[in-house]
Each structure stands twice: as C-alpha cells, then as structure tokens.
Symmetry: C2
Subunit: 491 residues, 2 copies
C-alpha cells in the first residue's frame, strides 16, 4: 500500500516522525509543543499505565491527586530545584477574560491579575511536600507512599512527539520516610520496578545506574536511572528514581517526632516515567515496515484476515475466524477480525504491519478444506502454515516467544553497540562514527564531563551500580578515575 516510510538507515529521525503519524499514534497539535495522543497511541500508553499501576500498588503505593498549579514562591524554596525548572515554566498571571470593546473576540481582563503568579507544574515536589507538612507529625504517620498520574508542562524549545513535548503525561511517585536507609531502599525498589517493567513488559533492555552531578534531578541527592539504547545507537533515559535526602523536608519544614520523642526532618524520594516510554518502545523495536509492538503491550495481539472470492467463501471463512476468536478469547488473547470487503488482503497486511500487531492469522477457502491456517509473525516477518485445530494454544505459546525474541534482539543490538574506550582518541572516533554506549574512565569532575560533551556531544548516561571496582585514568585529563562510567549521545 506504499506507506512511504523513510528507511531507518536513510534517515532515522524522519522514519520515527513519519511512523508516529502514519501508525496513528500521535500528532502535533496547533498548540506549540503540545501533542495530541491519538486513540491507538493512547491505548498503548493505557496498557503501560495499567501494568505500572498494578506494580506500584503491589508494592504498597496508593494514588492521589495534587494541584496542577504551584505558587511561584514555592519553586524558590529549594535552591537547586528552582535553578533546574524556572527556565521552562508556563506561568498563569490572570484568571479572567473579557470581551474586546473593539470587537476582536476576548482579551485578558487587566483587573483579574493574580497577586502571586501560578506555575503549571513541571513536577510536583514543591506542592506535595508543602502538603506532607500537614500529614506528618509522628513517626507513626510514616512512610507515605503516594503516586499520581498527571500531566506536566515544561516549556521546551525543540519538541518531538513522545520524546520531548511541552506537555506530557507521566506518573510521579513522592514518598516520605523515617530514615535515610528506608528512603534509599525505596529509591532502589522503584528502580527495580522500572527496570523489570521495561525489560519484561516493554522488551527493552536497560542499564541501571546513577546520574553524574551534571545530569541529576534538580533537588536530589542522587538520581538513579534506567537507560536504553535506540536503534540509531543513541541513548534514551527511560525512567528516574531520586533519593531526595532531607532537601525538600527542610525546604518545606516537614518534621516528625521520632520514637524517642525527638524532632527530625523526613527523608524523601521521587520517581517518574512518562509518555516518553512510548517513544522508547517505537525506537527499540520498530522497522521499515512500521511499528512492532511486544505482545505484552499490544492493544490487539492477533489480527485475523479472511481470504475469499465469493460471498459463499466469505461466509464460511469469516464464520471460522469467529469461531477461532472465541477460542482465543478463552485464553485472554486479544484479537480483531478485519472482515471488511472494501479492502484487499494485501492492503490489510500492510496496514497491520504498520500498526505493529504481533500475530496475523489468515484463512482462505483451501484452508477450510485442509484444516490449516497461515500464521505470520510481525517481529521477524516469517510465515508458516499450521494445523488450525489447536491454533489458540499455538498462539498462546507464540506470543511469549515473540516477546522474548524482541528482548533478545534488542539486547544483542545493545551488546553490538557497547564499546570500551581506553583513550580519548578511541572515544572520539566511536562518537564520530557509530555512537552506542561507551565505557570509559572519568576523573569525576563536572568540568571534564562538560569538556567531553562540548567536543563529542556525548554525556555520562550513568555511573554503573558496581562503580568503584576497577580504578584507572580519566580519558580526557589522565587524572585518577574510580571506575568506568557509561557515555552516550542522549535523546
């Protein structure tokens, strides 16, 4: 059907943009930097939400909802935080419009100016810690394990669908604890949830680590992260979990009386993943024919297409597909029968390849006679004809196989694109020619990281969790290094 996708090798960025639009996932809205998430794209996000939400709940978290608006003064309460977010804020200054006397629609009513401007939340630490202040008196009120699903706004100058938009959807967890250790444990627990969600549900392999000071969250003591490698060998930060220390507790005066009757500041964490994950999913698995969805996230796992030349054949074949549908249904396999007569089978094949449906089942009149069915896999584009009688169990085994194959393929790709640079020449060469994750020694200073970024566009994606085991010399300065860190060009 000539979907006209550019190929990945030709122009990865154009391929991505076109794919997002042609597969009906999202589009730019007329509001600068804001996207419209179309029903098909949103159904993928809903699957992600549903799985993550159950993982949060199973680990003892509850959802709540906090205000969209943050008084401007709150943002300045934590010094690093305001530095990180002030530059990209949408600011509400007025609360009323009125008719223009000259007949040009409506104008902002100058009499309705707010005393204090409100910021549309770029993240909610400030407004939430200001609330927690009233929720916490004693150690008995801790821990608070709260998450919210919300929209946030960061005024981005250069936007890309799902990857970087001025408004995006996300979840933000905000927890409060009695001890430093408990808060640190929570930070790691969430990192594990993100990591297993990405690997098991999204089939996206990730590296876990800690951010350098340059890259950590504004207001955190430590930022833990999961990092994935896209098919263009650029790195994508997929989720972050912040150990906040007592920073926000001090900024908002959140203290509790400990079991010994002494007042202490509360320890905090915050953590989030966003609709950016949809971008990560696309750029990890999809190909030049379109989207490839892992079965665990596909809104429709199986599409069934009838082949027929007459009404009689049509009736027989569709009846058979409906019967198979009932059997799939019993195994909780989601499916769609595309029995439209005004589209040719070939057109439908392309359409569902573009949409990334994991499995395609096709039955024609001969199959009815032979008790056969054609099974096509979206992940490796193979086809085979199998016995129809047991097809539901066949598919039930095939789906996890596809899920696993996608993960393994992505992992192999990452391994093939992970390098070690022993000196700066090698390092520069890699980032000139091929990108990827590059392990290299670094002296631990922000200046060195900045210099490397300036010269190569590569930044430290993360400091591995086992950092410190193998000392060496910084590739740029030759100074002592405590261990290798992982560089990459970041989305």
């Amino acid at each position: 059907m000539g979907k006209g996708l550019p190929s990945r090798s030709e122009d990865f960025s154009a391929w991505y943009n076109e794919l997002v639009k042609k597969a009906d996932l999202a589009e730019n809205s007329s509001v600068r930097g804001c996207m419209v998430i179309k029903p098909y794209g949103f159904s993928v996000w809903e699957k992600m939400q549903s799985k993550l939400d159950s993982m949060f709940k199973e680990s003892g978290h509850q959802n709540a909802y906090f205000p969209l608006f943050i008084p401007k003064s709150y943002l300045s309460r934590e010094a690093d935080h305001v530095e990180g977010f002030a530059k990209e804020c949408a600011v509400v200054t007025h609360y009323r419009l009125k008719s223009d006397k000259e007949g040009n629609g409506v104008i902002v009513d100058p009499d309705a100016k707010l005393e204090e401007e409100l910021i549309v939340r770029p993240t909610s630490e400030t407004v939430i810690w200001n609330t927690y202040k009233n929720w916490v008196q004693s150690y008995r009120d801790l821990p608070i394990l709260v998450n919210q699903w919300a929209n946030v706004v960061r005024w981005e100058m250069r936007t890309r669908l799902f990857l970087r938009t001025s408004e995006f959807l996300w979840q933000e967890g905000h927890t409060a604890h009695e001890t430093k250790l408990e808060a640190e444990d929570e930070t790691i627990k969430i990192l594990e949830i993100y990591s297993s969600f990405l690997e098991e549900t999204m089939a996206v392999p990730v590296l876990k680590g800690i951010k350098s000071d340059n890259e950590k969250f504004a207001g955190a003591e430590e930022t833990y992260c999961v990092e994935a490698l896209m098919q263009d060998a650029k790195a994508l930060q997929a989720g972050t979990s912040h150990f906040l220390g007592q920073n926000f507790a001090k900024a908002f005066d959140v203290q509790f009386v400990n079991p010994k009757g002494k007042k202490e500041y509360v320890w905090g964490t915050s953590w989030g993943v966003s609709t950016r994950l949809v971008g990560a999913l696309i750029m990890t698995h999809s190909d030049d024919k379109g989207l490839v969805l892992p079965p665990n996230l596909a809104p429709i796992q199986v599409v069934m297409i009838p082949i027929f030349n007459s009404t009689d054949e049509y009736d027989k074949v569709v009846k058979k597909l409906e019967e198979i549908g009932k059997r799939l249904n019993k195994l909780n396999i989601s499916f769609k029968i595309d029995d439209r007569k005004n589209h040719k089978p070939g057109w439908k094949f392309s359409e569902y390849e573009l949409k990334g449906i994991p499995v395609r089942l096709v039955i024609g009149p001969k199959d009815i006679d032979n008790n056969t069915i054609e099974v096509a896999r979206r992940d490796n584009l193979t086809k085979e004809v199998v016995n129809e009688e047991n097809i539901e169990n066949y598919v039930d085994k095939l789906l996890p196989e596809i899920q696993k194959n996608l993960f393994n393929k992505a992992k192999k790709f990452r391994e093939a694109n992970t390098h070690k640079a022993d000196n700066y020449e090698e390092f520069k060469k890699i980032f000139k020619n091929q990108n990827g994750f590059v392990y290299a020694h670094w002296d631990g200073s922000s200046e060195t990281e900045n210099q490397i970024k300036k010269e190569t566009k590569a930044t430290i994606r993360c400091i591995p969790l086992d950092y410190g085991k193998e000392t060496g010399k910084c590739i740029l300065t030759g100074k002592k290094s405590k261990g290798m860190v992982i560089f990459g060009k970041a989305y």
Copy 2:
C-alpha cells in the same frame, strides 16, 4: 472515638465539609480553589473511573489525549461558548521565570511573553474540533467516538471540596457524526450510561431530562442531564450530555463528503462527569457517623476485626480471620484485616464506620468455640451473629442487598421530597420550608425562570423527557404551559 462530626440536621454543610476531611477523602490545598484528593478519596474515584471507562469502551468509545492549553482565539470561535467560559479562565501569558536581581527568588521574565495567551482548558470542545478538522474528510472517517480523562480549570470564586473546585478531574467525550439523528442517538445513549452508572454503581437515583436555555451548555443545541437529590433536599447536577448540532463543526469548519459526493458539516456531541460525583455519593448515603459507601464502589468491602485478651487468643482469632480472608478472596470480595494491637476494637469500629466500609466482621475467642461470627452492616447499623462456616457466601449475598437497600432508601427519600406546586404560593412555601424537587408549570421563557430564581433561589433542574403531555398554566405568569418542569435549589 469522638470523631466530632456535626450532625446533618444541625448543619448539613458543616457536616459535609468535616466528613470529607475526617474520612481522609480530600482537603483544600494552599492553591486557591484547588483540592488535594487524598489516597482514600482517590481510590473511590478510581473505582468510578474504572466502571465508567469500561462502559464507554463497551459502547465503542476510545480514549485519547488533547492539549491542556487552548489558544485564546479558539475560545471566541463559537459565540455562545466564549460567553459561557471567558469569565472563569486561568490564562498563561509567559513561559519563563528568571532570578530576581534583588534576591527575592524568581520573577516572571518579561521577555518571555507569549504572542497569543493560552487558556488552561475549562472544557475541550474548541481544541478538539480544531483537531477533528484534520481527521475528517469523508463519511468513511465518521463516527469519531473519543473520550478523554483529564483535569480542567474553571476559576470559581466560591469553592467546596469535590462539588465546586477551580481544578477538577473529569472525563469528556467528544463525538462526531454523519447525521443529526446519529448524534442525537449518541447523546441519549450516553445519558443512559450515566443514569445506569449512577443508579446501579453509585446507588444514587436520578431524574433524566433536558436543561432549559438558562442552564444549558454554552455552545450546545440541547443539554441532557441526570439530576440527583441530596439529603438536604437540594438538587445536584450529576452529569450532562450535550447535542451540539453543527455549532462546533461550523465554528471550526469541520466538513465531510457524504456518500453522494456533497460536502456537509459534521454533527457533534460532548458529555462529561467529574469528581463532583464523589460529592454526590457522600451527600446521598452518608450519615452522622460518617461515610457510607455502596459495595459496588467501596475500595474495601469488608473489614475484619479481632477481639482478644491474650497473645494466645490473638493468634487464634487472627488465624481464623486470615482463613476467612482467603475464602472472601475467592469470591472477589475485597477486605482488610485490622490486626493492630495498639488500637481497641471500639476505636476501630468507629474508624471504619467513619470510612464507610459496608460490612464489618468481628470474631472473638468465644466465636471460635461456637463457630460464629458477628456481621455488622454499615448501611443500617444492624448487627447479627451468624454461623462462620459459610460466611463468604453470606457476605456475597449481603453486599448486593446493601447496595439495593442504599438505592431504595435514597429513592424513598427523593419520593418523600418530591412535590407538585399548583400555584406560586405553594411553590414559594415549599422552597421556604423544605426544598426538594418541585414539579410546576412554566411558560417556557427565560425571563420567568429568572424571576422565579430571584424570588426563591430555585431553578429549573430539568424538563422531563416526557414533557408536553399535560398542558397547564405557568405558576408565575399564568401563561400557557406545555407541561410541568422540575424545579430545585441547585448545588
């Protein structure tokens, strides 16, 4: 435990406010007019969302997401719409902050003024119809059946938790159709979904009808609504479904080519319910002891409390409750065992009464010997001792009975508070002394409705769907009336 709720008869409004706070449902935030929905309150909203979402999906709707911001000029495109919403808008005028040179935190950067101001969506018709313009070319692109779950902002001067807040959560459906009839059918279909959700899931009886011109949605041809009566005999608009005609299609030039090759404007609907429903739920069922939740919406349906005097007894009793828990679990009945030792049973009883848990099970050492268990109902506060062996089936039958009883009780209350006024004296007397729903003849003019509102504070809550069957004379003007309409004092 002395929860200290005011009684409903004493001060209904204070009772409501205190109950919302003490039952941990929500609280006012430090941001004017915006609430914090606390975990327990949010879990009730989540149950509502989940049920409604499945009803929307079963009837063919899909979710999507549209921008939070609306360019100011969009709002003026539909003449009635801008009249209705301009007065209560949060307006974004700037996109950056900067450090104050005098050291007072951050200030709005005057260089970052938007060319066109953005409105935080009070409702999304404008931005969505502007998007649909690009989605619709031919009749084959119709219908569009889309819903979004979102936050919206209407700058309210007088706010009340759940009932009227500047920011609230809601769902807004926006559909586009080929014919007038199809759009009208959709409007009614949604009205039926709202009505059955309220009656069957929330146990809140509703009247269905049409809004008068004074009360209809700004930009709609007709607004259908479901109206409920609260325990103070005031009326609450619980949901609205708007037939938009071609108003927004014309304002945003959304046309399609019909099967005959001719261009036509698309027909539209929009419809929504919000977190206000949580307020309706509370004010319909709850009592002076606290919240009363219908089993179909209770996040926890059964609470189990052990009675014990020794560690030995504690172990035995808790073990028995855990065993019962497993049996409840098999029947998908949600439960919680409160086995805390630092609170007395009486304290726990009050606590779960306040929280509205439908069923309480209590076991003490004597019950173990006798194979008995005490069952207490939250709806009518009765208790009985029953055989423990079959308790899971007992509870499984009891829950729908409680659900039904709550609905019947509310319906009886509404019937007892529904009146007919044959003349204006009677009408005024009712609204002076007792409120309620009042059927009365009306001449159909906005002036008359305004006059009645001015004198009695009562407005037309809805025009019944069977309006027009019984003519008469307007209670105010004596002019001809096509039928009785339903008046009430509205929340």
